[in-house]
Amino acid sequence: MRLLVVEDEPYLLETLARELRDEGYAVDTADNGTDGLTKALDTDYDTVVLDVMMPGLDGWQVLERLRLEKSDTPVLMLTARDAVPDRVKGLEIGADDYLTKPCDLSELFARVRSLIRRSQDQPNPHIEIGDLLVDTAARAVSRDGERIDLTPREYAMLEFFVYRRGEVVSRTMLYDHLFDEDESSLSNLLDVHVCRLRKKLGSDLIKTRRGMGYCLDA
């Protein structure tokens, strides 16, 4: 899953991006509203974490303009202003969730996960694929009650396949949603991760559709 974090406080931006990457997300960053809007319009992010008080375009303006063109990108507003009118304003402009600074990182992660589930129409965090159980809340996979260890990147890839089970997933889609702007899409990272997933979960779980991409059978 690929996220965009828009925040003008450099230390905060750095920390949030690093921690979200640790969680297995591909994370793009923007330190002002204008860049944030450009990136959000260019790429289909799975969630945008948007600060409200920023120089140039502020969070409200970014959200308003984003909603004119894209109504389906989940947006989590992050702000130091927590008066009720501010929250109402954020939700009415089209924010999907609202978090007040300072907040626990764990809460931020939980809300991001919840936003992604909702946007994929998968409100239930427990998804069964054959004998495999994927817990999107705990970000864990188990078979017959036995936990299978996955790296965050491997898990992210599995989750992406799980949300689109039965569909053909192209390599471009995988690159768009699993790698951030700094990682080269020319690398063979994708094949490496698919190969590892097959090794850990069973070789017939993810099928290759020649010339089209991959598919996870429901």
Binding site: E9, Y11, L12, T15, D22, M54, P102, C103
Partner: protein, 467 residues
Amino acid sequence: MIPGHRSIRWQILGSQVLLLIGVILGFGTLAFVLVRANQYARIDAELERRLGVVAFGVAPKRTASGFEVTFELRPEEGSLFGPETTHDYHYRVWLLPDDTEFLSDNAPSELEKPELSELSTASRIYQYGKRREAAKVLIRTGADSPRALLIVGCDVSSIASELARFRWLFSAGGLAILVLGTGTSWWISGRAIKPISTIGETARNIAEGEVSERIDVGHVENELGELAGVLNESFDRLQDAQARQAQFTADASHELRTPAFVILSQAQSALRKDRSTEEYRRAFEICEKAAKHIGDLVEGLLTLARRDSGEDTIHHEPCDLAAITEDAQMLLMTPAEKKGVTLETNLKPATVQGDKQALRQLVINLTNNAIQYTPEGGSIEVAVESHGEWVHLSVTDDGPGIAEADLPHIFDRFYRADKTRTAGSGNVGLGLSICQMIVDTHGGEIRAENRADGETGAIFRVELPAG
């Protein structure tokens, strides 16, 4: 409503009712006394007239033994007496010296004969219970010895009952007037007091939090209307101050939240799993900067809050602004060098009346601000000069200057021209507000402008009264 004697309305009402009772009683008693006197005077005049009639009845009469004084009334005179007359007039006559008694039929038997010595030729009035009598002595013509004792009387009970009726009528009328007067007074005092209750009610609502409520002064054009107007103005000012205070508090908490979030996220991030020494070092560095930022912010807020509340008083004493500036520059050399900015001074002794600490902070804040906005390689000039009654302090930089849109807000609290909220920048957005406050408390003026000498850059000018 305030009960009893403390209520203005009750006081007005009480005094008016007392006054009314006094007036009614006074006039009523006077009228009663006059009416009674008048009634008795009329009766007394009637008795007087009848005394005269009775006196004519005393006359000498020829008898067998010569002339003899006797008493006899002619029939038309006799009709003036008797039970059929209006007031049941009677007479009693004694011929002297024999004391021959002549009584009218209706003369009450229980009445005493008055002593001759008490009487004279002028009539005298007696009142026995419900009967009233006039008595006089008739003198023999040409002699001093009394000839007869004459008394006429009547029943005055009808007058008494008439007076009693009058008294009752008067009491009823007085009571009616009293009730009417009290009612009117209650109504008038209520109308006069009403604006006061309106004012009180509004003030109470405002105290309970309805801060936007105002007294309706639409139709009240007296002193109370004026008072309400004055109060409304005060309420406006209070609401304004409260709104500014609320905005300031909201801004302050907002400003504190971001660095707090930086510290929290750094700490949580560092604790989530084992990190390298380098990563821990970085996390601590960032926490340190954010904590310093919070510290600066809190200090600035406290400075403003203390001055706002008047807790921190300025000690005015003569001091040399040039010396203070020179002293402050020592502190500023290091940050200027770090930034690669040259700091120049042009100081001429100038005495002002002021607080050394506050003035030092003024110079430091202005210079720090200039260092902040001057790029590497730039220069800043701090000048102090005396101009008659004013001392001028100016801080000139050759940075990019101030955008027109920022100029009107540059002294606002938390206003930052560059708008970046970096925890490590050392810029908390309060420095210039504190400068403005210091200058205000010294009775001076501060303004910011862009250089007009062809160079880019900003000038902050301060004018303080010379000491």
